[in-house]
Point group: C2
């Protein structure tokens, strides 16, 4: 592999000049620049990015920590992030945190030790305090899908409350008045926010959530099936249920079918997230779209702006979800 030295020799200029034309920051005369470019071409020169990093103390790499690499959610996120950085000539190092505190902390450590210029973190298990402490260290980071009040300027998140509101309002507009709710783990902020939005929509119709029709699930399929069974067991009538995510909605759908109910004829089901498989369920799931790819992209832009000084970039920190009506919600039967 040719080095900058050989290029400089062939072009008959100094190392510094070659470096300058590469980074085209300082002025180099047109003639010299061409000589250098030609020498590079001729030698098939490619700069050694490691050496560049060491000398300039920037690695042009961004560390990404997500909970999982598979699943319907994170892939979208990574897509948004990668595309943005790739276009900017930065590269992306990934690690998985598996929603466990130790693994997440370890992953952050791993990424930091890799000299990332910045981190994009989707973490669930580490404490706010840990993040606040981390913010005092040298490596800057953004948080995706998490709100830490003390770090508000580095958070990119969805308005979950609004999402919960939209889901409930959709049902209410279809005439439903008895609505069950299968929540996520209420220690998670997003689960709580979604439910709060739900309550707000109900309040607009002078309704309150019926406690007997509330079930706290786990954001997984089984949570949805258990939840449906619990709602059914309550013996309260309901014509619709909201699930706080699509996985649980899918579980509810399956359980409903197995118990002999038909959705949406017997009752409607709303999901949340609009993950890819929501389209493949039967009936196709009405849900709330989570613009995860756009949010990933925005996190990347945050980094480009804050860390690489691309000041012209605008950053949006809060995203709005929106309704995706499909087939799992129907009008309430007139009673």
């Amino acid at each position: 592999m040719a080095t900058i030295y050989q290029v400089s020799e062939l072009a008959g200029v100094s190392l510094a000049t070659v470096s300058r034309v590469m980074n085209n920051n300082v002025r180099v005369s047109e003639a010299t620049r061409n000589k250098v470019l030609q020498a590079m071409e001729q030698l098939g020169y490619r700069p050694n990015s490691i050496a560049q990093s060491l000398a300039s103390s920037r690695s042009n790499s961004i560390g990404i920590l997500v909970s999982e690499l598979h699943g319907p959610f994170y892939g979208e996120m990574l897509t948004g992030i990668e595309a943005e950085f790739r276009a900017a000539g930065k590269h992306v190092i990934i690690a998985a945190g598996h929603s466990e505190r130790a693994t997440e902390e370890d992953g952050i450590d791993f990424l930091r030790s890799r000299n990332c210029d910045a981190l994009i973190l989707h973490v669930e298990a580490v404490s706010d305090q840990f993040l606040v402490d981390l913010s005092k260290k040298e490596t800057p980071f953004v948080l995706l899908n998490r709100q830490v009040p003390a770090l508000a300027d580095r958070c990119i998140s969805l308005d979950n409350e609004l999402g919960g509101y939209l889901a409930a309002r959709h049902l209410l507009q279809q005439g439903h008045r008895h609505i069950g709710y299968i929540a996520g783990p209420m220690w998670k902020a997003d689960a709580r926010d979604r439910f709060h939005g739900h309550q707000r929509a109900l309040a607009e119709y002078q309704l309150t959530a019926d406690e007997a029709l509330f079930f706290e699930g786990d954001f997984r399929e089984t949570g949805g099936s258990k939840g449906l069974q619990a709602l059914l067991a309550s013996n309260r009538p309901f014509s619709a249920i909201v699930c706080a995510n699509d996985e649980m909605a899918s579980g509810a759908l399956t359980a409903a079918r197995e118990l002999g109910y038909e959705v949406p004829a017997d009752f409607s089901v709303m999901g949340f997230d609009n993950v890819n498989f929501a389209y493949y369920t039967y009936p196709k799931l009405s849900t709330i779209d989570y613009p995860v790819s756009a949010m990933g992209q925005m996190a990347a832009r945050w980094v480009l702006k804050q860390v690489y000084q691309q000041n012209s970039i605008d950053v949006q920190q809060v995203f709005n979800p929106h309704l995706i009506p499909r087939d799992s919600v129907a009008e309430a039967a007139v009673t």
Copy 2:
């Protein structure tokens, strides 16, 4: 950030010694090692991986090029790869190739310019010749899910022929004798291989594939729905169809429902890949499992063995698919 120099000073030894205890390759006396370790601890020292890379000319990074970062398939693959490398202290740089020749070549270039020690490539659009040429350059690579005869020792792939065989045999064993086939794009090797396996199974039953019941799809949902319509339009009777992947199977399922057919009562449907949503379709899709995470992991091991000389590792190059019977296939009605 503390440097190796400060550690050496505090420990009262030379730079070289500190480096030795870090890499614990050469012998260092127990006493000295402890002094150094303690100094590191005290300073909170973390080696600068960039400097290490420059000096040792290995970056401990592996470039991964996949077609997409989202979708049900690649996430699994990345999970397998990342876990393996993380445990080995290597890190993973990712890029997306979007199944386009130019983007794939560009991605490879991008990764190479990042001084990756090795590449793991899931490429579909670049030519065999391009890969053969690439193999002559310095950066080693493995190919996932692709067979290039000249590069056989660097290919990790699925026995697609066997998969096609298993799918067809399953149907045959259930008594089906008139089986439609919705293929992938036949310019893709995996699409062809799957169909060949299909033919082999038929041959064992003294049958041949009915050309009128063959449709070349695109591996996407619409391919499945169009395919089903084409089969139906042929006016040939069939009691089952094989789709060359789950996306198309899902499309076929949806189309069937919309056209008033019931699966598997009216006809059975087989998928291929066992992507995550295959579990969420209705009816749940019978399919062929593609052990994609295990294959990703194996690609990582190949790298560990071939590039990082971890010789104790065993590498398996060809993986076998297996049948996942679920609800979309039923016994053929006796006629």
